[in-house]
């Protein structure tokens, strides 16, 4: 039991999995509690019986105080029947099952206005925006960052200015980008580029600077020229960390997406969310936010999974995947003994 709370001790895989599931179940349980237990919170009353009061109708939500006042008033007026209602939560707090249903129906419901986009089309627009923004930013930011990490001159001539621009919030460039690039996808991509690029240069430069100097000296004594040092030492040595940097920066790009998409003509998932909020379909709003989370989380997990396999030399810890492959190939850890021919691989 004490193993749950030993400082800096690793947990067993079973416990790690259990806690990982718990991390999602706890907020869900809390949400359910406030949604389904009538005496928890529920600050509104949902009218079931107007009892002759003209300005309320069944299904309407009233704040509890107003409802209580109304009942008092009716009682004082010695009305035949009193209005009745059940405790309810505000419309912006839909219960889990409604959001769960919306996760499905949001995809199957046609847009209210003709010409508006379906949810999946909105999502696709968002993903395209992110993709291009992040690709353009990385195509310039990563090489610049590597140069800054390699040469002090490049670093000193670039980084102070980059540091300066970094503090300007990317959305501040919104109006400017619309003026330059028009109102469609281009200014949105530009904002993601602005939001990501400057961070990227600094993060990549720092990662490259962290490469063990001993490796560079070793390469030099083996005859490596400066060009070789970058391509054959700095880049491969920092590649796993660069990969992780990009993973984290991709997460930042998602946060810029929402502000970027309201620039010019609102588009993508943000347009969908705003539109649904306008119609007060808050279950759809939650569903869309959750979908963003799922896409981001899934992408990140997938990238992490690939990263661990791509950079096996950086992760000597035997993974479950490798153990599984090991069992498959005759009870040996494949990556640990790659020089030995694996008998099962012939099959």
């Amino acid at each position: 039991m004490s193993r749950w709370f030993t400082i800096r001790a690793e947990l067993s895989p079973g416990r790690r999995r259990f806690l990982g599931v718990l991390a999602f179940l706890l907020p869900l349980a809390l949400w359910s509690l406030f949604s389904y237990v009538p005496w928890l919170w529920h600050p509104m009353v949902k009218i079931t019986e107007p009892a002759g009061v003209s300005w309320i109708k069944p299904g309407q939500l009233l704040p509890r105080e107003d409802f209580d006042k109304l009942v008092e008033k009716q009682r004082a007026a010695s009305a035949v029947a009193l209005p009745a209602g059940t405790p309810a939560n505000p419309i912006y707090f839909p219960p889990p099952h409604a959001v769960g249903r919306a996760l499905y129906t949001a995809f199957t419901t046609a847009p209210v206005l003709k010409g508006d986009k379906w949810l999946h089309e909105s999502l696709w627009t968002s993903i395209r925006t992110i993709f291009w923004g992040f690709l353009i930013s990385s195509a310039i930011g990563v090489p610049v960052g590597i140069l800054c990490g390699a040469y002090a001159t490049a670093s000193r001539v670039t980084e102070p200015f980059v540091d300066f621009v970094r503090y300007m919030p990317a959305p501040a460039f919104g109006a400017l980008m619309v003026a330059i690039l028009g109102i469609h996808l281009e200014p949105k991509i530009a904002i993601i580029v602005i939001g990501t690029f400057f961070q990227q240069v600094l993060v990549v430069a720092n990662t490259v600077r962290k490469v063990d100097n001993g490796l560079i000296e070793a390469a030099q004594t083996l005859g490596a020229k400066p060009r070789n040092l970058i391509w054959r030492v700095l880049v491969p040595a920092s590649l796993p960390d660069l990969y992780n940097d990009l993973r984290i920066l991709l997460g930042w790009a998602w946060t810029y997406l929402i502000v970027a998409e309201v620039v010019g003509v609102s588009s993508g998932i943000t347009f969908f969310i705003n539109q649904q909020a306008k119609y007060r379909n808050f279950d759809n709003v939650y569903a869309a936010i959750i979908i963003i989370g799922v896409i981001g989380f899934a992408t990140d997990q997938a990238l992490a999974w690939f990263g661990q396999r791509m950079f096996a030399w950086k992760n000597p810890r035997p993974s479950r995947f490798r153990a599984f492959m090991g069992r498959l190939f005759g009870g040996r850890d494949v990556l640990l003994f790659p020089d030995k021919p694996q008998p099962a691989s012939k099959a």
Binding site: L215, E217, T221, L222, G223, K314
Partner: protein, 302 residues
């Protein structure tokens, strides 16, 4: 390795048996590969310049094995870094085969204490690195790298990654990698310092074996006096503050060397001389620590 009783009559460390003397005579006929001429290095310190090395001069002849020892802070690491081209001297010069040499170059291979293997490359690709830098194609460099890996006895591990190897194996890969581009001089900076005693002894005999079979001149830095005597033809003793050559000792222990010679009179005589140079008797009155007794009376451990 308890110090020899002073009553035991040791020969003078300068006495050489005829065989050893003949060997040194033969070495002196060989061409000079590495010449260090009045080399000096100053660093900018807080209170003006600090001299790390001053007027270091010596010559190393072809296929000679020279060890450099000295107290900590004598600048041995600075010296070998300058020789490797990783640091610039502030005065003096260094010549390889009679030509003045600057900057890092594959003619001066280096083995570092921290292995510095490229962790993303397999053993074979690590050894191929220097060959590829010399412009050799992969189909030529591959078989050549294999020869070097076999030489250090790691043929079975050619496709392993460095993190899968023990410390001694890593250092053997580092030696193979440094030797592959055929350097004139192999510089070794306390290469076995991080290894346990048993592995270290193994590595020492491995290194002698490699040196016997490869046309290479070795300059080896260590702080282990026995290691220096066991390996070296000559030992360059540095002194600290500033780092200067104190003495160059011709080791009188006959070759081939082995750990059995540790108790031989020549070995012990050399060892005693090194002890005198490195740990001079000046500091002999040992300070007693001002410790208050914290155990019960009568509860004594010695």
């Amino acid at each position: 390795m308890s110090s020899t009783p002073s009553s035991y009559p040791l020969p003078d460390y300068r006495d050489q048996s005829p065989a050893v003397a003949a060997r040194f005579a033969r070495i002196k006929e060989r061409p000079v590969v590495l010449e260090v001429d009045k080399l000096g290095r100053q660093f900018a310190g807080e209170h003006g310049p600090v001299t790390a090395l001053r007027d270091i001069s010596f010559q190393v002849r072809r296929r000679e094995f020279v060890c450099v020892i000295g107290p900590s802070g004598c600048g041995k690491s600075t010296l070998i870094r300058i020789l490797a081209g990783l640091d610039e001297p502030t005065s003096g010069r260094m010549l390889v085969d009679g030509r003045e040499s600057h900057g890092p170059s594959p003619e001066r291979g280096m083995v570092f204490q921290g292995y510095t293997l490229f962790p993303w490359l397999t053993v074979k690709r690590n050894v191929m690195f220097g060959l590829e830098m010399a412009g050799k194609a992969a189909n030529e460099a591959g078989p050549e790298a294999h020869q070097w890996i076999d030489l250090v006895g790691l043929g079975k591990f050619a496709d392993s990654y460095p993190h899968q190897l023990s410390g001694g194996m890593k250092q053997r890969v580092a030696i193979a990698r440094a030797l592959a581009p055929n350097p004139r001089v192999l510089l070794m900076d306390e290469p076995f310092g991080a290894l346990d005693a048993q592995t270290r002894a193994q590595m020492q005999s491995h290194l002698l074996e490699i040196w016997r079979n490869v046309d290479v001149t070795i300059l080896f830095i260590t702080h282990d006096l026995d290691e220096a005597i066991l390996l070296a033809d000559r030992i360059l003793v540095l002194k600290a503050n500033p780092g200067e050559v104190q003495e160059i000792i011709e080791v009188p222990v006959p070759r081939p060397r082995s750990l059995d010679q540790l108790q031989s009179p020549e070995f012990q005589a050399t060892r005693r001389r090194l002890d005198e140079l490195i740990h001079p008797k000046v500091h002999a009155p040992t300070e007693r620590l001002p410790i208050v007794r914290l155990t019960q009376a009568g509860d004594d451990v010695e």
